[in-house]
Every structure is written in structure tokens, then in C-alpha cells.
Symmetry: C2
Subunit: 151 residues, 2 copies
């Protein structure tokens, strides 16, 4: 059967999730702009701060980013003076990453904006719906982690 044009498209979950994710990302982006930091940089900085001395591999795992992306985001943070690296002593291939004093106020501000974003979300979904959504996202994430492994 040939393609029939003119049919209404029913958006898929993946498509809709992408659109919605970008809206949430933009929310943070706008608020973090005065601090000259992006949402992705923020997420990495938060991990660094939460456990000083992580190596990049661990940061990559915790943020679900690949290693090249993690390297480059850390480079950005380093060039802004928000993190610094220390060559590993037992394993000289790796670097331990730490946040600087300059990063502290940014981290506090970011945490505030995440709180704000949560409040904003709770204006359109209930606490329970929020939790349901998190649970479903985790389930899908886990399932597709497995499925994508075959590639």
C-alpha cells in the first residue's frame, strides 16, 4: 500500500518526550544564564560537588553522558574556573575532579532553581503524578538500555 499523504500524525511518546524535555531544559537554561552555565554543565557540576574527587568515568556514568561529552563539559567548567582536575596517583590515566570555591554560589543557585522547577511542575501535575512519571521514565530508561545494547 502506497504512502497516503494528508493523514494526521499521532505523535509518539519519544517525539513528545523530546519536545517536553527541551521545554524543561530551556526553563533551567534561562535561569542559569546569569551564571554563564548551561543546564548540562550544571548537571555535571552538581555531580562533581556531590562527591569531590570523582574520576571522569564515574561522572560520565552518573550523568549518563558518554566520555567525550563528559570531557568537553568538564573542559568548559574548568575554563570557567568552576572545577579543577588532579592527576590520579594510583591510576595515572585518570583525573580526580573537584569543584572550586567559585562554583559554590552557582551550585547553591542551581539547587534553588531546581526547587523552583519542581514547584512549577507541581502546578500542573500532582505529587503522585510526578512520582508515577519518574517511575515510568526509569522503567523505560532501563528497558531501552538493554535493548540498545544489541547495537
Amino acid at each position: 500500500m502506497p504512502t497516503k499523504a494528508g493523514q494526521e500524525i499521532i505523535p509518539t511518546l519519544g517525539f513528545t518526550m523530546g519536545v517536553t524535555y527541551r521545554k524543561l531544559s530551556m526553563y533551567l537554561q534561562h535561569r542559569l544564564k546569569p551564571f554563564d552555565i548551561t543546564p548540562e554543565q550544571w548537571s555535571v557540576l552538581l555531580e562533581v560537588d556531590s562527591a569531590e574527587g570523582l574520576i571522569q568515568k564515574e561522572i560520565a556514568e552518573r550523568t549518563s553522558k558518554d566520555h567525550p561529552t563528559t570531557t568537553r563539559i568538564l573542559d568548559q567548567l574548568e575554563s570557567k574556573g568552576l572545577v579543577y582536575k588532579q592527576k590520579g596517583k594510583q591510576d595515572r590515566r585518570s583525573y580526580l575532579v573537584f569543584s572550586t570555591d567559585k562554583a559554590k554560589p552557582i551550585i547553591e543557585a542551581g539547587k534553588g532553581y531546581e526547587q523552583e522547577m519542581r514547584s512549577e511542575l507541581l502546578e500542573c501535575v500532582t505529587e503522585q503524578e510526578y512520582e508515577v512519571m519518574m517511575e515510568l521514565l526509569h522503567r523505560i530508561d532501563h528497558h531501552f538500555s538493554g535493548v540498545n545494547k544489541d547495537f
Copy 2:
């Protein structure tokens, strides 16, 4: 109170949605690779096919992409011979976009993969959960469209 390092991070909805979205996107990416098309190109191509003769502005709205991004994705599709543009007759600023015959099999394949992806999703969430998720995503999308307007 100063930043306390060493605390476990509770991932936010935004962060988790981003991680999960990338997994879904990768699923499609891998399957579309033989057709030399990305998931985003696919979503644009699908819109073009669903209503031949749309102008770019309309395609941008339907895919929730901004105009520059839409321009460039259409450029990619055009250079691959999957769509073509026709200068508007009443409004010479705009272009009507159409899909080519070469695009038809790709569109069919893509639709198949989206079906597959839905089946894959339904292996980890119920039909009802799928619908709940869609509804919540739409609600959040709509809410943050309003909130982000202030910027």
C-alpha cells in the same frame, strides 16, 4: 549554610527525562541508520509527507523546532533528495515543501520502526501507563510553554 559535599543526588524529572529521551532517540537512530537519516530528519520528513505543500513555518510549528533548525534539517533532506521546495506563489517569502518518490520507502520503513518502538515500550509499560505518560507530558509541555514565554 555552605554546600555540603558527599550527598546523594536525587535526579530531577527534567534530568531523567533527558536521559530517557536519548535512549528512545538512539533506538530509532540505530534502526534508521541504513536509510542514512537521523531521528530528527525522520520526524520532519514524516510531517512533510503527512501534508505535502506545507511551508517551513508550519513544519517548524508541528515539529516544535525553531526556524533555523527546521531550515537546516530540510536542507539535509533536500541534499539527500528526499524533499524539494517550491517558491510560494502568493507569498514569495515562503517555500512549499514536498517529499520525493525516493522518500516513500524510507517513510514506510520509519513508520514500521515507530510501531516497533511502541511495541518495545509496551514490554515495560502497560497501554494505560503509556497513555498516562503521554497525557502528563502534554500537560507539562503546555504548562512550560507558558512559563518560558516570559523570557
